[in-house]
């Protein structure tokens, strides 16, 4: 890990020294255990702040939109998928960014760890080979990394960067095939069960928009929930309004969502937002054979059509 | 006190299109309940929240003088959701009103002094209320010289034309009208408000200046007043921005530790300079 961090720092220093970029966006040590966080490095001597570990959960692609600088960006698999979509959607110019790709074996789910430890206060955490050691005031606990990965990381199929200017570290083995067992089993439930599930999830929403703002593909200048003339949707935590906010947001990401899970990780209430996005990803793949954030050449599925697209849902009298 | 969040129902009695682009209308409102009317006592410079039921509410300064009992007037420019909805309404329709809120102009301070009111465009509405108040009956005796300087882009953008005419016909008030661009038949001055103010403003001695208008006008008028010798304490401005609850709770209108809705909207320039503020002008 140290070698990897040194490489990242080295590249960042070179880029800044040579004036190839104005800023390097990467991760730095957070202020509390289990948190690494975005940082902006603008001079070579600041580059030693950069780190890499199992807590780099933010999708840094969020930061490249609407910026006029040339940026170096430390990017894991999902970050690069988001960058690719952004390039495709012309939100950032390819030459404007220098992608320092980092293969990723998944990030540790701090919320699940905290739930596992119930009430004990974590003082430090140390990542080892395959495990992490948590230390508190009067306890120590070692847990398997694999068992505490974020749900999005558990089903990730693009651990390696899909687009990069420089790759740091060894490529890791990808899990093969696009499968959606979670969605399939959920589809098997009755209408009522599914409705109940979503109603419960949405009822916890506080409309803080952390999901939207953490999402690299939610870059609309004015989001439909913020529009006031016309006002599309009520701003209170009315059940119908919150449900429609999530439904519409997910739908606006149909064929664009790169399944990084940033939305879910940002949500303070742990709402299962990703289930909506995954359903759409699954359908987009099944109906239009498209997966977002993989290829620069393929046209976005909702920006095109095929004359022989499925008609199965069309009502015949 | 009654529930401050409760809109009192009012009926639109009259709608007057003020400007040639039809974007500013003056609404005359009357209370549906008599007790509401009695309770709603206000001073020039105060504001109220008008509710368009189903659309929301927005703050507006009262354009009518409290000396004209029985009705309220608001001049409203079509800019946002609420104002667009308002502009589509007509006589007989129902609105809600909450207020009055804010401090209003410091009338006591002006007593026995000269007052110069400098207004630009749509920002003139509360100054009109103040002028009407000061020249009404015996009120006039309490103030010395009253000078009104009022400008707009073109003659067709001047509000309250009948009031302006009435004032011009009186000898106890001086009125200077100016436009940026004149039309055929225009007899007033041509030039920006700040330029005209430099020309016609009364001596700063013993005089208070009130400035209301678009940010650019205020920005250019303040240095003129300084030049004429007005100290910051004797220049008053009205900041009618982003108020919501009107009672200092919702946290929307604060500039530093001041709530525009409670401590304002009228501030002396000296006070404003003391605020920790996001660039106001």
């Amino acid at each position: 890990m140290d070698a990897l961090i040194n490489r990242i720092r080295g590249i960042a220093k070179d880029l800044l020294r040579e004036g190839k970029v104005d800023v390097v966006i990467g991760f730095e040590e957070g202020t509390i255990p289990f948190h690494s966080r975005p940082c902006f490095v603008r001079s070579p001597d600041e580059a030693d702040r950069l780190i890499w570990n199992s807590f780099c959960e933010n999708n840094l692609a969020t930061y490249v939109v609407k910026r006029n600088e040339r940026m170096g960006i430390v990017a894991k698999g999902c970050d690069t998928r988001a960058l690719l979509e952004l390039i495709k959607e012309r939100q950032v110019i390819r030459d404007q960014i220098y992608i320092i790709g980092v293969p990723c074996e998944g990030m540790i789910d701090r919320v699940r760890v905290e739930a596992e430890l119930r009430n004990r206060s974590i003082q430090t955490v140390e990542v080892r080979e395959g495990t992490f050691l948590i230390m508190g005031k009067d306890f120590e606990k070692e847990l398997e990394i694999k068992e505490f990965l974020y749900p999005s990381c558990q089903v990730c199929t693009r651990k390696n960067p899909v687009i990069y200017d420089e790759l740091v570290g060894e490529e890791v083995e990808e899990s093969v095939g696009e499968t959606y067992p979670d969605i399939e089993s959920f589809e098997g439930l009755s209408d009522e069960k599914r409705w109940q599930y979503f109603s419960e999830e949405m009822s916890r929403c506080i409309r803080c928009y952390a999901c939207r703002n953490a999402c690299p593909l939610c870059y609309c200048t004015e989001c439909f929930v913020d529009a006031s003339n016309p006002q599309w949707i009520g701003k209170s935590i009315d059940e119908s309004d919150t449900a429609l906010f999530h439904i519409m947001r997910a739908f606006h990401l149909a064929g664009r969502c790169v399944e990084c899970g940033a939305c879910e990780r940002a949500c303070p209430l742990g709402i299962d937002i990703r289930k909506l996005n995954r359903k759409l990803s699954k359908d987009v793949l099944a109906l239009f054979n498209y997966k977002a954030g993989i290829s620069l050449d393929e046209v976005a599925p909702l920006a095109t059509y095929r004359p022989d697209d499925s008609e199965a849902f069309i009502l015949e009298p | 006190m009654k529930n401050p969040y409760f809109p009192l129902p009012v009926r639109i009695e009259n709608v007057l299109v003020e400007t040639e682009d039809k974007n500013i209308k003056t609404f005359t409102l009357s209370f549906i309940h008599k007790e509401d009317k009695e309770q709603f006592r206000y001073r020039p410079g105060q504001f109220a929240e008008l509710t368009v039921f189903g659309k929301g509410e927005a703050p507006f300064g009262m354009a009518s003088s409290p000396t004209q009992p029985g009705f309220l007037e608001f001049s409203i420019s079509k800019v946002g959701v609420v104002t667009n909805a308002l502009h589509q309404m007509s006589e007989g329709e129902i609105l809600g009103i909450r207020g009055p809120f804010g401090n209003g102009y410091p009338l006591e301070t002006f007593k026995g002094k000269n007052v110069v009111l400098i207004g630009g465009g749509f920002g003139f509405s509360t100054l009109r209320a103040l002028t009407d108040y000061m020249i009404e009956g015996t009120n006039r005796e309490e103030f010395k010289k009253i000078t009104v300087i009022y400008g707009a882009r073109r003659p067709g953008f001047l509000l309250y034309k009948s009031d302006l005419e009435t004032w011009q016909n009186r000898s106890d008030i001086q009125v200077f009208l100016t436009v940026d661009q004149d039309d055929i038949g225009w007899h007033g001055k041509v030039g920006t408000v700040s330029v005209v103010a430099r020309e016609v403003a009364p001596d700063a001695e013993n005089t208070y200046a009130l400035v209301c208008g678009p940010p650019a006008m205020i920005k250019y008028t303040l240095p003129v007043l300084k030049e004429l010798g007005f100290p910051n304490e004797r220049i008053f401005l009205s900041l009618e921005m982003r108020m919501k609850c009107g009672i200092g709770k919702c946290g929307r209108c604060n500039i530093g530790s001041k709530y525009v809705c409670q401590d304002g909207p009228v501030f002396s320039y000296a006070e404003i300079l003391n605020l920790t503020s996001d660039d106001i002008f």
Partner: protein, 144 residues
């Protein structure tokens, strides 16, 4: 005490019809005096491709029991490809709303050409029957 009068519930259905085919089809049904249920409120749109998913959801939110979107048959779009694009969008949307638990049968998509007055009437009949069988909309409906 008198029995409270229970009004028979009738489904409210909103149909977004494209100007060039489906609306003309509805017109033809009317001119030809073909009978169909009067539960439908028609909104004329330029093209089925113009129908924002939000239009559908906004209707559901306001208590409309069923929504129909109808455009030109594939290949016959006045704007060449509007209905093709709509087809992709709504294939996803229909599945998606069912996924979150909305009853199957609240939302319908079909094609009706300008000459298909009879088809239009049959579509409305079928949609009305299905929506009627589902009962009044409850899910996602906003209560004031």
């Amino acid at each position: 005490m008198a029995e409270p009068k229970i009004e028979k519930w009738e489904p409210k259905i909103v149909a977004f019809l494209c100007n060039w085919c489906s609306y003309a089809g509805a017109d033809l049904a009317g001119i030809s005096r073909i009978q169909y249920p009067n539960n439908v409120r028609i909104i004329r749109v330029a093209c089925s491709g113009q129908v924002n998913p939000w239009f559908i959801l906004a209707n559901i939110q306001q208590g409309i029991d069923g929504v129909l979107i109808s455009g030109c048959h594939p290949g016959e779009c006045h704007y060449l490809t509007g209905n093709y694009r709509a087809r992709r969008k709504f294939a996803l949307l229909k599945n998606f709303l069912q996924f979150v638990g909305l009853e199957e049968g609240r939302i319908h998509f079909t094609w009706v050409s300008a000459s298909e007055g009879v088809r239009f009437a049959r579509v409305i009949e079928k949609v009305t029957d299905i929506v009627r069988s589902l009962g009044p909309a409850k899910k996602l409906v906003k209560r004031i």
